[in-house]
Symmetry: C2
DNA sequence: TATTGTTATACTCTATAACTATA
DNA sequence: TATAGTTATAGAGTATAACAATA
């Protein structure tokens, strides 16, 4: 039997839930309106944009994005159809696919980013002080590290053959 | 042009995003495995359980859950089909529907809750100190209040007729 | 005329399993 | 045999608009 949560833990949990839900909702709307991007597509473009050469293997993109491989393929296809990325077999390992950002992809990302920042400023960063933001980054950063390194209890990345 | 985000703001934003995504993922899996509940269904049951008489109007349930009316109807239908809630027209206002929790609904919620707490303890509350949890509750609570009271810029709760 | 809720419908997204190809 | 990725498919969830009924 797990120990009950403290009142403060409950408050923190509810607040976290509500903040992330409202924020995500607002962000998804902005991305859709400004650039017809889903949240996942935005994340993929962002990750590609962070890469020095604008390229990443599918597998590397999959890490950090929680989705299944097929889900990633699906979103990558949509991006490719719009010409925002290209997909090519990797020269190093012919099994791998390298996803590369196109100029068009960069352009769409650039179009969308100002509004994205705006939503964050207005919704998430209006109330907390600079110190609060520091605290948030520290506390949630630690939690993220922990969660990332804690594999699901019944870890089944990919089902064993038989 | 919106001002750029500070490095710390970006860190806080990414951490928040990652924490809520991983947490939500784990929670959804636990709810599905333990009680065949979707996250929304769990939220609805929780809200009903919080009500003194286990009853709430659809509209009241809709507040706080970000979804559309039709989405709420859909989930309420699923819960009703499983016998976890009942829906009756309100005596006060015949337009309204009152959703009431059944004993079966309480039972399922009780079945699911221990595992839910476990996930929270292991994932969200392992790293932060008591003081940290206080800070989280305070900072995110303020943000939630703010976001709740900040209507979407192009507020269109329900489209105007014509 | 405004509000509450449902229905019909279309679409987006996600996951599972089977499959191909390379290591 | 294991890994990278795609495909086929099926299911869950969501939103929009039209609709019915009550206030």
């Amino acid at each position: 039997m797990p120990s009950a949560l403290t009142t403060t833990q409950l408050e923190a949990y509810y607040a976290l839930t509500e903040v992330s839900a409202l924020l995500r909702h607002a962000i998804e709307k902005q991305l859709r309106d400004a650039g017809r991007l889903s949240y996942v597509q935005f994340q993929l473009l962002t990750r590609l944009s962070d890469a020095r050469d604008g390229r990443r293997r599918m597998t590397d993109l999959a890490d950090g994005v929680v989705y299944s491989r097929s889900g990633l393929t699906y979103q990558a296809q949509l991006l490719e159809e719009r010409g925002l990325v290209t997909r090519l077999p990797s020269p190093d390992d012919e099994r791998s696919t390298v996803v590369a950002m196109t100029d068009e992809g960069r352009a769409v990302l650039a179009t969308v980013l100002p509004g994205h920042r705006e939503v964050l400023q207005e919704l998430l960063f209006t109330t907390p002080s600079t110190g609060d933001v520091n605290e948030l980054a520290r506390i949630l950063g630690q939690a993220a590290d922990h969660m990332r390194s804690t594999p699901p209890r019944s870890a089944s990345r990919r089902r064993r053959k038989t």
